[in-house]
């Protein structure tokens, strides 16, 4: 058993657990975006940054950093709140997050985080990129304007469904989540139509077609429910 301290509270972790997992188990909430229980950590969004006091105040992503004996961690402070808000502002400025016109309005993780962090306005100029919406799939759609490149869909599809349909194409802010060789989703030969990616998506980027905004509630916890029922592979 490992013992560490988060926000002055002594907590325990089992070997292999991340700082985030140990904190959550102890009832301490750390905001996350790219993390989804049941998927491998990616450390893509940095919303979960925490400060490690005994590592010279270094900032590490709680979701992707193993809990270690004796760590003294700050998970909530004005500095972290400001950093998290800045990250959120950058995400909003990067694509077209026009909540009023989004299918996920009211149940979007990005929107909730922004509200929690008191993000009243964005200090960066909006880029307003012209991004496509792919409605070629009979059941689902993907609107790149709302994508935060968290990779939850990519991981859900490869790690849970095993279809490996989604991948990232391009790089930097021009990265797009695309199916197979960049094909329209509806033409994908690998997609089974299971919808796991849609449930895993934190925003309105992946959505169910023909559903009203009020019904567009994601069930991200499905992913962990599936993976937890799987037999453990003895390593």
């Amino acid at each position: 058993m490992i013992t560490l301290r988060v926000d002055g509270q002594d907590i325990t972790a089992s070997p292999g657990q991340t700082i985030l997992e140990a904190a959550v188990a102890a009832g301490i909430r750390i905001p996350t975006l790219c993390h989804l229980k049941g998927l491998t950590p990616r450390g893509a969004c940095r919303i979960c940054l925490v400060e490690v006091k005994n590592w010279n105040g270094r900032l590490v992503p709680a979701c992707a950093t193993p809990a270690e004996q004796g760590l003294d961690i700050v998970a909530h402070s004005q500095r972290l709140r400001d950093l998290r808000r800045t990250i959120l502002e950058l995400l909003f400025a990067e694509r077209n997050h026009v909540c009023a016109f989004c299918v996920s309005n009211g149940h979007c993780e990005l929107q909730t985080l922004a509200a929690e962090h008191g993000m009243e306005h964005v200090r960066f100029p909006y880029r307003f990129p012209a991004l496509p919406l792919d409605a070629s799939h009979p059941k689902y759609g993907i609107d790149h304007s709302r994508c935060v490149l968290c990779g939850r869909c990519v991981r859900a599809c490869s790690e849970v469904e095993g279809a490996m349909t989604w991948g990232f194409s391009g790089r930097g802010i021009h990265t797009l989540v695309e199916a197979d060789l960049g094909d329209p989703w509806g033409k994908s030969k690998t997609c089974t139509g299971c919808g796991k990616c849609v449930q895993a998506c934190p925003t309105g980027a992946l959505f169910e077609r023909g559903k009203a905004t009020s019904e567009q509630v994601k069930k991200g916890e499905l992913v962990a429910e599936v993976t937890e029922r799987r037999p453990r592979v003895q390593g």
Partner: protein, 155 residues
């Protein structure tokens, strides 16, 4: 095409079921064909046993992989600092118009591929471009157009 596919099959043979060697395999494809067309991407995915999405991820991440054939002539317009401050942007625009190939692309007639590079090491001659192996310097849009026209006539 059938021949090309068979040829590629031989090129890819050593990479059968070797997903970790995706990048090397793509290099081989590119040196065999000059670019990595879609049909070759499908073949790479099948032979190596990697998801198509991963093949696409690698090809679009590394700028050195091409998905379009290269033109007969390659024009490299320098956009390094020295060339930039001496009007390389206007030179590039002229080159794009004259060749009908937007930067990074090949003209519809297959005559030119236009690339943007960062410093050709000839800053004293800025703005500079290279057409195949020939360097031309102290360019302005008019001069650049002339160079392209001359090369174009030679083909």
């Amino acid at each position: 095409m059938v021949n090309q596919k068979e040829h590629l099959q031989r090129v890819l043979e050593p990479y059968t079921h070797r997903p970790a060697e995706l990048i090397q395999a793509l290099h081989k494809v590119q040196s065999a064909l000059g670019y990595v067309p879609r049909w070759a991407q499908v073949q790479v995915a099948e032979v190596l046993g990697v998801p198509p999405a991963q093949v696409r991820g690698v090809i679009t991440f590394y700028h050195l992989f091409r998905q379009q054939p290269v033109g007969k002539h390659t024009v490299r317009v320098c956009m390094g600092t020295a060339c930039h401050v001496r009007g390389a942007q206007r030179v590039l625009q002229a080159v794009e118009e004259e060749t009908k190939a937007p930067a990074g692309k090949t003209s519809p007639d297959g005559a030119f591929t236009v690339e943007v590079v960062r410093c050709l090491g000839a800053c004293g001659l800025a703005p500079v471009m290279m057409v195949d192996d020939e360097v031309s310097g102290r360019l302005d849009p008019r001069k650049a157009r002339k160079v392209i026209q001359e090369v174009g006539r030679g083909t």
